[in-house]
């Protein structure tokens, strides 16, 4: 019965979608409004109007920077949410005592030891991964890539390092205030750039377009990229550690 209901619901949504999608402009048609309206202006004015040869980064950090600010707030909200749901419910009155988290930690500590091959390969490739990620973050406005891709890569690397180093407790004890500061790096970067933008150009999240301001515009875009990258990496590591049960 449940499967019939589900397939009916899926058909009720799928069939109108097919009908609607069929009448859209042909895939890849150069004359479609997608290419002639706003996008044409972005592509035409891109290198000098936004200071980014990679137009996607130009859109993300300049034309629609407010969207990226919202996106950065969402990934931070996910971290706050995961920590709110999984922090140990120990001493709330009338709450059944949650399983002692001590055993949780012990179970992780006795995790199978990391094989030497993985350890060696990781130690070998770690510098190159970091170099590539930092290059992608800082060169995001010229070649494909950007803050968030670099941040995701550094986050993945930190996850690998945390698994390996934690086993023989080389994992550094970072003060909590620094951790929370790094995790809030991206919204902070947007706040700073917005204020500086208002000061210079009189509009929030506006980068100085005048020829004199090009150097400053480059710096502000790099600040945003670095903030998004560092913030993204810290949050992805935070998500991993929180779901694992630290």
């Amino acid at each position: 019965m449940n499967r019939l209901l589900a397939s009916l619901a899926t058909a009720a949504v799928g069939i109108p979608m097919l009908a609607g999608v069929a009448q859209l402009p042909r895939v890849g048609a150069p004359g479609a409004p997608v290419h002639t309206h706003v996008a044409a202006q972005y592509l035409a004015g891109s290198p000098d109007a936004t200071g980014a040869e990679n137009v996607v980064t130009g859109v993300l950090l300049n034309y629609r920077a407010f969207d990226t600010f919202g996106e950065v707030m969402i990934i931070f909200a996910a971290l706050a949410a995961v920590l709110a749901v999984l922090s140990p419910v120990a001493e709330a009155i009338g709450m059944p005592k949650d399983q002692p988290s001590g055993t949780e930690h012990a179970r992780h500590r006795r995790a199978p030891p990391v094989s030497p091959i993985v350890a060696f390969v990781l130690r070998l490739t770690a510098p190159f991964i970091i170099a590539f990620a930092v290059w992608m973050m800082l060169k995001g406005h010229l070649t494909p890539g950007g803050g968030f891709q670099g941040g995701a890569m550094i986050g993945a690397l930190l996850i690998l390092l945390s698994i390996m180093l934690e086993r023989d407790n080389l994992w550094p004890r970072v003060p909590e205030r620094l951790v929370r500061g790094l995790q809030a790096a991206a919204p902070l970067a947007f706040g700073v750039v917005a204020l500086v933008g208002v000061g210079l150009t009189g509009a929030v999240l506006a980068l100085p377009a005048s020829p004199a301001g090009h150097g400053l515009r480059e710096l502000m875009m790099l600040t945003l990229e670095a903030g998004i990258g560092i913030g993204g990496a810290a949050i992805i590591l935070g998500l991993f550690l929180a779901i694992r049960g630290d």
Binding site: N54, V56, T57, M136, P144, G145, G146, F148, Q149, A152, M153, G155, A156, I159, I236, L239, F240, I243, R244, G245
Partner: protein, 80 residues
Amino acid sequence: MSRIFDLVMLALLISVALAVVRCRDLVAAAILFSGYSLVLCLLWQYRGAPDVAMTEAAVGAGVTTVLVLLAVSRTSRRER
């Protein structure tokens, strides 16, 4: 020629998605989902969207799969 590549990739995408849905073992489903993200990444790279392909590879195949495997390790592996 380009049309054929598109159709092959789309067919592969749909078959991997069906495999993810039908697979009983959740760890295998997570790995298949990582493969699904990589096929999607290839398709987008071909479609002229390198930024999106890179993000889908790093985030979709990388972070999502790691988090799903982590959650499976803390809960049950078999889907009844």
